[in-house]
């Protein structure tokens, strides 16, 4: 369950941002978990919600976008969209694919507030 470590990493990114931008709480956290990022989105959401109380993320709405991944098909010599590492090329059905995008887990945006969390 590495999602707990990743949730800790996300909280750290948020805390770093807070030390630069001086905000007190986050009302919305937007994440991007590419299809090949190796992240179980429900587990990540659970981990974030479990970790949030008492932190800047308490009460935050968590949005996780899961864009399809892109891969270079060596047989077709073009970029194609895939949803998992076990997917064949949608054009030729082959497996000669090198992922070129969709492997990242990113914090995209925060909506932050300068006031304390509401009770």
């Amino acid at each position: 369950m590495h999602e707990m470590s990743l949730a800790g990493g996300i909280l750290r990114v948020v805390e770093d941002a807070a030390s630069r931008d001086c905000f007190k709480r986050v009302s919305r956290l937007s994440l991007e978990a590419g299809a090949l990022a190796g992240v179980e989105v429900n587990a990540l959401r659970f981990a974030l919600e479990a970790m949030a109380p008492g932190t800047l993320l308490e009460g935050a709405l968590i949005e996780i976008d899961e864009p399809a991944a892109s891969a270079w098909c060596m047989r077709c010599s073009r970029s194609v969209s895939i949803l998992s590492r076990t997917d064949p090329c949608p054009a030729c059905g082959g497996w000669q694919l090198t992922p070129t995008g969709g492997t990242e887990l990113k914090v995209r945006e925060l909506i932050v507030h300068d006031d304390e969390p509401e009770e």
Partner: protein, 324 residues
């Protein structure tokens, strides 16, 4: 900073009394409209009520404008693993400076990683007794594995991860500093030593964490399913080499080697494969050759990977330019 109108960033709220005025009065827009969502405060809460007193200047903007809260958007676009990856890059540079080639061994629990390591150490000793070796052992609990390695005379550091399911780059950095390989100080480029990092037995989580290794080696024993590369694709995609172990048991188990290799190549067309038995010694020589092959090229790995990426991007560019 505020990405909505680009006005200057925070600092302490106290230090930026003009922030809010610039936003609200001069620009005359509200962030709420930009963000397109309603804010969830109740009336008055954001003004910091104490003993019933009202302070309408208690937010960072130091001013209250009806209909506008002090919510703002911060665009980050930060990779969550960036902090780990920075340490991993430092580890890689550190290893290079000490002439160390590191391998990250990953597998399910019980595939025989430690047995393979002990056999590898003994075989390496026979081939080149002067080659410095070291092991970092990752497990949630106990020092059993490090004890087994130390019994061979090779220095080992046990890293217990507690509830953690994988090693991360800072753990490896801390462990490396305790090893004699590090104590020798920076080595001339020609010097070489091998560091084996035995990750926590887990085919899922360690795939995501770069430790600064030259390569991840996925170890799969023939007593496991031949479809594991499909069940745990991230790991086999991250590995440069798959080692099929316990091959002495092949006559007794239903394990289709060719199928297993085909599955691994489906998730990683470039994966290399070796078969070996730590018990009979079959295949161990080829494994040592792989470990010792052009070790100084560790520095070149990144360059080669980048060159491959450039070729790939050029192909894509040519493709898109060819379109109308």
């Amino acid at each position: 900073m505020c990405v909505v109108c680009g006005c200057s960033d925070g600092g302490a709220p106290d230090a930026q009394p003009s922030h809010g005025r610039a936003h609200d009065a001069a620009h005359g827009h509200t962030h709420d409209l930009h963000h397109g969502h309603a804010h969830d405060h109740g009336h008055g809460h954001e003004y910091g009520v104490a003993h019933g007193d009202l302070d309408f200047g208690a937010n960072a903007a130091r001013v209250s404008v009806p209909g506008l809260s002090s919510a703002r958007a911060i665009k980050l676009e930060v990779d969550v693993l960036a902090a780990n990856d920075r340490v991993a890059r430092a580890n890689r540079a550190h290893f290079r400076a000490h002439g160390v080639v590191a391998y990250n061994l990953v597998s399910s629990p019980g595939s025989g990683k430690t047995t393979l390591l002990v056999a590898t150490i003994e075989a390496l000793r026979r081939r080149d007794a002067a080659l410095p070796l070291a092991v970092i052992e990752g497990d949630q609990q106990t020092t059993h594995d490090a004890d087994r390695i130390r019994a061979t005379g090779v220095p080992a550091i046990q890293v217990n991860t507690g509830k953690g399911c994988h090693l991360d780059a800072p753990m490896v950095a801390a462990a490396f500093e305790r090893l004699p390989l590090h104590g020798h100080g920076p080595q001339p480029a020609a010097a070489r030593s091998l560091l084996f990092i035995e990750n926590v037995g887990n085919l899922v989580c360690p795939a995501m964490w770069d430790l600064g290794e030259r390569a991840k080696v996925a170890i799969l024993s023939v007593t496991e399913g031949e479809d594991k590369p499909l069940k745990y694709p991230d790991m086999f995609a991250a590995a440069r080499l798959m080692v099929l172990t316990k091959t002495d048991l092949l006559p007794h188990v239903d394990f289709d080697v060719a199928r297993c290799i085909a599955h691994a190549q489906r998730v990683n067309p470039g994966i290399e494969v070796l078969l070996l038995s730590a018990k009979s010694g079959q295949g161990v020589d080829a494994w040592l050759d792989w470990l010792l092959a052009d070790a100084p090229a560790a520095a070149g790995d990144e360059t080669a990977a980048l060159k491959a990426r450039i070729a790939e991007l050029e192909a894509r560019l040519a493709q898109s330019e060819g379109r109308p």
